[in-house]
C-alpha cells in the first residue's frame, strides 16, 4: 500500500481535493457521533431537571480527584495527538511514532483510572444491576443517575478503546514509513476521531462530577 499511497484515485482532480473529501467524510461521521452522544446528553438533561436533588446526592459519590486527573490526561493525549499530526506534516517520522505512542499511553492511563473508579463504585454498592445497595435519600433516582453514568462513561470508554486500536495501527504504519508530508491523511483523520473522544469527556466531566460539589459539607 505504501507505494501507492501518494497515488491519486481517479475520481479526484488533485491530491488536495482527495484530502478535503476525506476530511469532509470524517466530519460527517463525527456529526452522527454528536447525535449519538447527544441523545444520551438529552436524556441526562431531562432526568437531571426532574430529579435535581437525587442527581446531586449521587454525583458527590464520584471521586472528584480521579475525574479531574482523567480530564487532564485526556487533554494531554489530545495535545500529543496534535503534535503527531504536526510531526507527520513536517515529515518527522520518529517524532510521529513517538507522539502516537505517547497518545496511546495516555489513553490507556485514562482507561486504567476510569476502571479503578468503576471498581470503587462497585465496592460501594453503587453499580446498578451488579451491586446496588444504596439506601439513603431517594435510592430509585440515585440508581437512575448511576445507570446513566455507567452508560455514558461506558460508551465513551468504548470509543477510547477503539481509539487505542486505531492509533496502534497508525503507529505501526508510521513506523513502516507509510506516511510523508505529501500523504498523511490517515493520521489527520485519526486525530479528528481522537479529539472528538476528548470533546465528549469535556462535557461528561462537569455534568457528572461537578453538579453539587458546592453543596458538600
Amino acid at each position: 500500500m505504501a507505494n501507492h499511497s501518494l497515488a491519486l484515485r481517479h475520481q479526484f482532480d488533485d491530491v488536495e481535493q482527495q484530502k478535503d473529501a476525506s476530511t469532509l467524510g470524517m466530519w460527517l461521521f463525527l456529526a452522527t457521533e454528536v447525535l449519538f452522544f447527544g441523545g444520551m446528553f438529552c436524556c441526562y438533561t431531562v432526568y437531571r431537571s426532574a430529579y435535581p436533588a437525587a442527581f446531586g446526592q449521587a454525583s458527590n459519590h464520584l471521586n472528584l480527584i480521579l475525574g479531574a486527573v482523567s480530564t487532564a490526561i485526556l487533554i494531554i493525549s489530545s495535545f500529543t495527538m496534535a503534535c503527531a499530526v504536526n510531526s507527520a506534516a513536517t515529515g518527522a517520522k520518529n517524532a510521529l511514532v513517538a507522539f502516537l505512542s505517547l497518545t496511546i499511553l495516555f489513553a490507556a492511563a485514562f482507561l486504567v483510572i476510569e476502571m479503578s473508579e468503576w471498581r470503587m463504585l462497585y465496592q460501594e454498592g453503587l453499580m446498578p444491576g451488579f451491586n446496588f445497595t444504596y439506601k439513603e435519600i431517594d435510592p430509585a433516582h440515585v440508581q437512575l443517575f448511576f445507570c446513566m453514568y455507567f452508560s455514558m462513561t461506558g460508551l465513551h470508554a468504548s470509543h477510547v478503546t477503539i481509539g487505542i486500536v486505531i492509533l496502534t495501527v497508525m503507529a505501526i504504519r508510521a513506523w513502516r514509513g507509510a506516511f510523508s508530508p505529501a500523504y498523511y491523511t490517515p493520521i489527520e483523520i485519526s486525530g479528528l476521531y481522537w479529539h472528538f473522544v476528548d470533546l465528549v469527556w469535556i462535557f461528561l466531566f462537569p455534568l457528572y462530577y461537578l453538579i453539587a460539589r458546592h453543596l458538600q459539607g
Binding site: D20, L24, G38, Y47, S49, I76, S78, T90, P206, R213
Partner: protein
Amino acid sequence: MAEHIVTKKQYSFVFGALLLLTFVTTAVGMMDLGRLNVVVALVIAVIKAMLVVLFFMHIYWSTKLTRVVVVSGLAWLALLLWLTLTDVLSRGWLGFPGK
C-alpha cells in the same frame, strides 16, 4: 483547503488554555454560586470544546463545506435538546417540582 501546518508552539498555547480551564472549572465547582454553578460549568465546557474544534481539529483553517457540516451537526443537536425539553418540561409526565 490551502495546506496549513499548525506549529507545536500554537498547539502548546491551546493545550495550556485547556489545562487552565479544567483547573478553573473544578475550582469554581467547589464554590456555591447557586443556579450559576451549572451555567459557569457549561460555559467553560463550551469554550474548551471550541478551542479543541477550532485549533486541534483545524476547523479554523478548514474549507467552508466542512464548517457547514460542523455547524449543521450542532444545529441538529440543538433541535434534539430544544424540542425534547419543550415537550417534556411542559407536560408534567415526570415528577417535576411544582407540576
